[in-house]
């Protein structure tokens, strides 16, 4: 089943078509890769699916409901979580707080009931809810084997750990689908290897994964499905094997044979 799909999604900046009539889809329970040379429009497509940007034309569907133009906090609440190319952590906050934020919208009597009482609600009333949040946060930190850093400031973590924390934060919101924007960027081969295992593990918990990545080794070995963009257009879609042998893809990456 297609958990998420776009229909002729177009995003233009001035006259430049960053994304041009792209039909993208992600199958439930699988890992979908989104690849293409730099500047192909991958991140723009991500932003348009997660509400950070609004498409000029076209539609986005999630779980068969249209979500085009939804603000990003609403999209997040539907069960769509993401990470960013240039890590966006809450730097001044502790690691565990970062993960707890991921669960933010699932707590409180939000979104519509007794907002005011919630805000000043005594610590004691919140204790049980806090405890649940904490438990959940620790669970995800343990998942990444980084519980020991729980009380570090996020900005003090090593680079690789920051990437992992960002994923942990996204997972804390219990998403149905997870968007990863270049999760392996800046990692060494061992770390990348480890990350591949992690992503598989995430899929095995039932979360659909969509990722942008330059590391072909990673993409080819863990993705079930790959979509290739070039100059804002979809040029190919298929299994890793099909993609590897697609002449259009080879041309996009290596240039035309002379």
């Amino acid at each position: 089943m297609k958990l998420l799909q776009t229909e002729k999604l177009t995003r233009a900046y001035g006259g430049v078509m960053a994304v041009n009539e792209v039909d993208f889809s992600a199958q439930e329970g699988l890992i979908t890769g989104l690849i293409g040379p730099n500047g192909a429009g991958k991140t723009t497509l991500f932003n348009n699916m997660t509400g950070l940007d609004i498409p000029t034309e076209g539609k986005v569907f999630f779980d068969e409901k249209e979500i085009t133009g939804f603000p990003s906090h609403k999209i997040a609440r539907l069960g769509i979580a993401r990470t960013f190319q240039n890590i966006r952590l809450f730097k001044e906050m502790s690691v565990i707080e970062n993960v707890m934020i991921g669960r933010h919208f699932m707590t409180g009597e939000s979104p519509h009931k007794k907002r005011l009482t919630n805000m000043f609600k005594s610590y004691f009333f919140m204790e049980s809810e806090e405890a649940l949040m904490l438990e959940n946060a620790h669970k995800w930190l343990n998942f990444f084997d980084m519980d020991e850093f729980a009380n570090e400031d996020a900005k003090n973590l090593p680079y690789g750990r920051q990437r992992e924390l960002e994923i942990a934060r996204a997972l804390a919101s219990n998403p149905k689908i997870l968007f990863l924007d270049e999760p392996a960027a800046g990692m060494n081969p061992q770390e990348t290897e480890h990350l591949m295992d992690t992503i598989r593990k995430i899929r095995d918990t039932g979360v659909t994964v969509v990722l942008i990545e330059h590391d072909m080794k990673l993409v080819m070995s863990i993705c079930d499905n790959i979509t290739v963009l070039n100059y804002g257009q979809k040029i190919a879609q298929g299994t890793p094997k099909e993609i590897k042998n697609n002449p259009l893809v080879i041309e996009a990456y290596l240039g035309k044979e002379e």
Partner: protein
């Protein structure tokens, strides 16, 4: 002598309330607002007007002052919140000046430049909290500061506080985590404004008269200095900041040198402190304290 020191404490308390609100807006949410003076003025005038013309008691006017200030907080907040940094600062500064301008010109309601005099004193049951007898009034101020501190500290630790900090650190990431950024920013503004309104009410029943020129944007800047001096994002530090700034501003009187020191020296000193602090310790005297939660909670608490 003791009385004068008590007076400084009372003003420290009143300003600490404003600083607490500013801290929520600036320290927690990262919005550089410069209109606490405006909310302070609104609170003062609400109490002054309701008490003199309708005979309401302080306790009846307090919630109105807090609510009305909060309403204005939302009013200024909603349209300006998408402004960033310096732009927000100027827009809010402008709002503060507009409030003062309106108070100065709406003669039929505010008494115009004459202000409102002879505001009735606050009472608890039948006991009058006479601002001339400082202890009682100080107790009242401390009570309100302590309650506010408690509530804000809780607020800071609650999910809302966490959401605000997340917005401060990275708005886009916060939105992607399902946080309704606009809603929280407006709430922060409203709540931050409401304590300033309460501070205004107290100021009214303490000085027993109000005039528009007590609410210049210098007040907003003083409040901001308190937050910066103490340490942004830390409510206790901010209260200390309020106390220190008040000590500085009453330094000549405190040391009994007010006839010796040219009056401008205090202001020059104030300016120097700002410059030196920014260069030497921009994070404030105490600095930011981020909360530690989880297994090391008790330990972290003990260490502070």
């Amino acid at each position: 002598m003791v009385n004068f020191f008590l007076l400084i404490l009372i003003y420290s308390g009143i300003y600490a309330l404003m600083a607490i609100g500013q801290n929520l807006i600036t320290g927690y949410t990262g919005m550089l607002s410069l209109c606490q003076a405006g909310f302070f003025a609104i609170g003062s005038y609400v109490t002054a007007i309701l008490a003199t013309s309708l005979g309401w008691s302080l306790w009846a006017t307090l919630p109105v002052a807090a609510l009305l200030s909060a309403m204005f907080g939302v009013l200024i907040g909603l349209p300006t919140l998408r402004l960033k940094g310096d732009y927000l600062a100027i827009a809010t500064l402008g709002f503060g000046e507009i409030v003062r301008n309106v108070l100065n010109n709406w003669d039929s309601l505010t008494g115009g430049p004459m202000g409102i005099q002879r505001i009735p004193m606050a009472t608890i049951f039948s006991f009058t909290i006479n601002p001339y007898k400082k202890w009682a009034f100080l107790a009242l101020v401390i009570l309100i500061v302590v309650i506010s501190y408690y509530l804000f500290e809780r607020l800071g630790r609650s999910r809302m506080g966490r959401a605000l900090q997340a917005i401060r650190d990275d708005e886009i990431a916060a939105a992607s985590m399902g946080i309704n950024v606009t809603k929280y920013k407006v709430w922060a503004f409203a709540i931050g404004a409401s304590v300033a309104g309460i501070a205004g009410s107290l100021q009214s029943v303490f000085s027993l008269s109000v005039t528009p020129n007590s609410y210049t944007f210098m007040v907003s800047i003083m409040v901001l200095c308190m937050v910066v001096l103490g340490g942004m994002g830390n409510f206790a530090a901010v209260i200390l900041g309020a106390f220190i700034i008040q000590l500085i501003s009453y330094f000549p009187q405190l040391t009994g040198l007010s006839s010796v020191i040219p009056p401008q020296f205090k202001q020059i000193l104030f300016g120097l402190i700002l410059v030196v602090m920014m260069i030497w310790r921009p994070q404030g005297i105490i600095g930011v304290r981020s909360y530690r939660v989880g297994q090391k909670k008790s330990k972290a608490k003990g260490a502070k």
